[in-house]
């Protein structure tokens, strides 16, 4: 399975992808509006509740922040040492200030919660559904000339051809090896030369495939000027309305308690 989707039957999994995409966007907005300890505690509680109801293991969600740990630590380090304010500790040219610690903590929390919230979306929604959801949400842009449908088609086709091209690479490699090519050489010039027997035929055959695909699509009467139907159209359910109300209420409460 391509992507990070974790199959399940929880209420979060069954929500319409558009609901989840909008909720994630609101979540990111909420984090930028949060600026107090009480606010961040409420945010964290909300995220934990969502995680529990999605039945994704908490550890998996926490692990999604791994790529940004270095940057969070690095940014915190600089903020702690270079923010002016009430000095708690100082030595040589360094000083730790209360304001620096506060800024670092809030910044780190904001980034970590943002990444974890975004991961919930990708864990509970398949790539196909996310693509459909984004296409649907952005469809108003069609009226100002942005080709959302075409872009969705590109992404869908690209995903479809990943396994095909993977096989192609393997076939090309085997064919070249049968002709005497050796892969895994130690010399650097040899390593450069190894790229060509694979890359040139791969690109060439891909463009031939694109050419054939274009003809096949046109023969099947695909036409951008005609409104398309969908095999699996997205439909809102009552639970989308219910969850949407909960989210709006909760976010409003968090904003209010910080005033």
């Amino acid at each position: 399975m391509i992507g990070q989707f974790i199959p399940g039957r929880s209420v979060v999994h069954r929500l319409d992808p558009r609901t989840k995409i909008i909720a994630t966007a609101l979540w990111i907005l909420l984090l930028f509006l949060t600026h107090s300890i009480a606010g961040f505690v409420a945010d964290t509680i909300f995220l934990v509740l969502i995680t529990l109801s999605s039945r994704i293991p908490l550890l998996v969600v926490l692990r999604s922040t791994k790529p940004i740990i270095p940057i969070v630590l690095f940014t915190s380090f600089f903020n702690i040492l270079y923010t002016s304010g009430d000095v708690i500790w100082s030595a040589w040219i360094f000083q730790i200030t209360k304001q620096g610690i506060e800024i670092s903590a809030f910044l780190s929390l904001r980034i970590l919660l943002m990444v974890m919230g975004s991961s919930i979306l990708t864990f509970t929604t398949s790539l196909t559904d996310i693509t459909s959801g984004i296409e649907s949400l952005l469809s108003p842009l069609e009226r100002v000339g942005v080709r959302i449908t075409d872009f969705a088609m590109m992404v869908t086709l690209a995903i479809r051809f990943i396994p095909t091209l993977s096989e192609e690479v393997q076939k090309i490699k085997d064919a070249q090896r049968a002709r005497g090519a050796s892969f895994g050489s130690k010399k650097i010039t040899q390593k450069i030369k190894e790229v060509f027997p694979i890359l040139v035929p791969l690109i060439y055959s891909s463009f031939r495939r694109a050419f054939d695909l274009t003809n096949a699509i046109e023969c099947r009467c695909y036409n951008q000027k005609i409104k398309r139907t969908k095999l699996n159209p997205l439909k809102y359910q009552k639970r989308d309305l219910f969850c949407g109300i909960i989210i709006v209420l909760f976010f409003s409460i968090i904003i209010i308690i910080q005033k």
Partner: protein, 180 residues
């Protein structure tokens, strides 16, 4: 948009993804392994031109943002855009745009000219953006960031040599030109 544009961009996006899934190639004296994905980014600009090449890279970045592990090492998700590689990812988007335009303007059947364009846009520009990204996202001083990205220059230069050779070989092929 023509259907041919859609299919070509889709296939190039798939190639970019495939190149990202190939493990890095360790080379003796270069401290970082050579990953092939930005070779794909260079080729996207050179072969498809600025518009289609940019669309191909944009599709890749959208998929990565949606959580697909399509970057070297299986990285994906929104986190990588605000990580140390953030500047590089943005430059991947700009690279085909600039390279496509430059090759159209200056390309004159001289391999050396093509190589200069691909090297400047595909290596120097991308690494400068990477350094700026490091500065913006982590607060690292720009000079130090520039020095730290020098470690990638040798590997990327090798890739730009490979890119120009692939580009010339495919451009010389009449059947390939007619399918673009």
């Amino acid at each position: 948009m023509k259907i041919r544009t859609i299919t070509q961009v889709a296939l190039m996006t798939a190639i970019l993804i495939i190149l990202g899934l190939i493990p890095g190639i360790p080379v003796g004296f270069i401290p970082v392994p050579i990953v092939l994905q930005n070779l794909g980014v260079m080729l996207a600009g050179a072969l498809l031109g600025s518009k289609k090449g940019t669309l191909a890279v944009f599709s890749l970045l959208v998929l990565v943002a949606l959580g697909c592990p399509f970057l070297p090492g299986g990285r994906g998700g929104i986190a990588v855009f605000i990580g140390p590689s953030g500047g590089y990812l943005l430059s991947y988007l700009l690279c085909p745009l600039i390279m496509g335009k430059s090759l159209k303007l200056f390309s004159s059947r001289k391999m050396l000219v093509d190589f200069a364009i691909i090297w400047i846009v595909g290596v120097v520009f991308i690494n400068v953006c990477g350094a700026i990204g490091l500065t913006v996202l982590t607060g690292m001083p720009l000079l130090k960031a520039l020095l730290s990205v020098l470690v990638f220059i040798p590997g990327d230069t090798i890739k730009s040599v490979a890119a120009v050779l692939v580009f010339e070989k495919l451009r010389a092929n009449a059947a390939f030109r007619s399918s673009i």
